[in-house]
Amino acid sequence: MAFHSLGRERGDSMVNEHWQMLTESFPQLLEYGIKVTIPLSILSFALGLAVAVTVALIQYANVRFLRRLCRFYIWITRGTPLLVQLFIVFYGLPDIGIKLSNYLSAFLVLGFNEGAYMAETMRGALESVPRGQMEAGYCAGMNYVQIMGHVVLPQAFRTAFPALGNSMIAMVKDTSMAASITMAEMFRQAQIISGQRGDVLLLYCEAAVIYLLFCTALTWLQRLGEKLLAKRGGVRA
């Protein structure tokens, strides 16, 4: 009996220790999530989207040489692993004199990587806009750029919205790769704390939970956005 209660006490103190570790590390990880993961995701997504729209527009307009260049970019980017791209840019480029900080490397690689996928999304969305929209625009006296900006692109964005949302979610998860180029982001922080205190399983699960929180929030925003778009005539007949 005595022995038993002793064991429980020891067990309780162990649970307490884990619990304390959790309550201490959670705010730390969350802080990195909010200060690094989210801004990095947003900035890289913005870069990716800018790249994607440019690449998709070039392909849509069918400019010969540039179009080839775009296909080449998409081919390379989608055909190689993100981790390898990160290593090439951060560890490799210094060999030829290009030294980028880990932040900048992560930003560029994540942006251009997801940009290739989003370019394909946008290209499909642009091509799904009926040709008649362009023709009606011309007949109303508008020029190519005006029709693109006011009619075709907005419709393409609506079509692409769910897929772009998925890209954003992928982006949030992919930022964890930046840990491999020594960037002080959330997942690397989990690695560092677990190195100091053990509790590897708990810490990594904790990081996973925070990613899950972020992605769940994004999914929720995505649904909300789709509802708002549908209200504004977003559903194509």
Binding site: P130, G132, Q133, E135, A136, G137, Y138, C139, A140, G141, M142, N143, Q146, H150, V151, P154, Q155, R158, R232, G233, G234, V235, R236, A237
Partner: protein, 248 residues
């Protein structure tokens, strides 16, 4: 004479779709363009507005000469400013409200001020009986309503001529009447129109001229009354007979 269309030619691959179509249009004319399916009616209209690049032919529009094959961007813009196009499947801007559908071209394409564009749009929408649906999106309208908005979009730019490509063909039968009555009204007000149509009542009673096409040629051109009461070409006669027979 307001518009002289000369010898429009167009081929797709090795298929000659328009073999030299000419037509003279006076102010206030309503020309019905008739002909069997595949005769080139749509292609003809599209060439006139440079939606399709003709292989040859010319327009003399208010005395100014435009080559349909070699026209510069500026010339194309000039011609398009004088004209408007109503499509078979409406082609309303799907991401814009009824009001925006009309104002967009006025503001961006024609550089009109916001308030002026709005006023012109409201006038045009009232004209077609759609002024009570300003904030609706195309997907929330019936086909007949969409086509009336499309006509308002055409009207609002104050064109000298409106091209219609089978404006009622995509509509359910019970919605055709509302669009035709708008067009009849426009004709009465003296709007110049080129109308590709299969609506024989419209061709007979509203249009004053007929262009009958077959196999990319203009088989017969003339006053509507003559065409229906006294067709000259055999093909015209056959066409009228087949249409009347299809009605029985």
């Amino acid at each position: 004479m307001m518009l002289d269309i000369q010898n429009v030619r167009k081929r797709f691959g090795d298929r000659e779709v328009l073999k030299g179509i000419s037509l003279t249009v006076d102010k206030g004319d309503v020309v019905a363009i008739l002909g069997p399916s595949g005769s080139g009616k749509t292609t003809f209209l599209r060439c006139l507005n440079f939606l399709e690049k003709a292989d040859g032919g010319a327009l003399v529009f208010d005395g100014a000469h435009f080559d349909l094959h070699t026209a510069s961007k500026a010339d194309i813009a000039r011609v398009r400013k004088k004209t408007a196009f109503v499509f078979q499947n409406f082609n309303l801007f799907l991401n814009k409200t009824v009001l925006q559908n009309v104002t967009l071209g006025l503001e961006k394409g024609r550089g009109m001020k916001k308030n002026d564009a709005r006023a012109a749009a409201l006038r045009a929408l009232e004209h077609v009986g759609m002024a009570d649906r300003l904030e609706s999106y195309p997907s929330q309208l019936s086909g007949g309503q969409q086509q009336r908005v499309a006509i308002a979009r055409a009207l609002a730019s104050d064109p000298e001529i409106i091209y219609f490509d089978e404006p009622t063909s995509a509509l359910d039968p019970e919605l055709i009447g509302e669009v035709l009555s708008v067009m009849r009204q426009l004709a009465k007000e003296g709007m110049t129109m080129l109308v590709v149509t299969h609506e024989m009542d419209f061709a007979r009673n509203v249009s004053n001229k007929v262009l009958f096409m077959a196999d990319g040629t203009a088989v017969e051109t003339g006053p509507s009354r003559d065409f229906f009461e006294n067709p000259k070409a055999d093909r015209s006669r056959d066409f009228i007979r087949s249409i009347l027979a299809a009605r029985e």
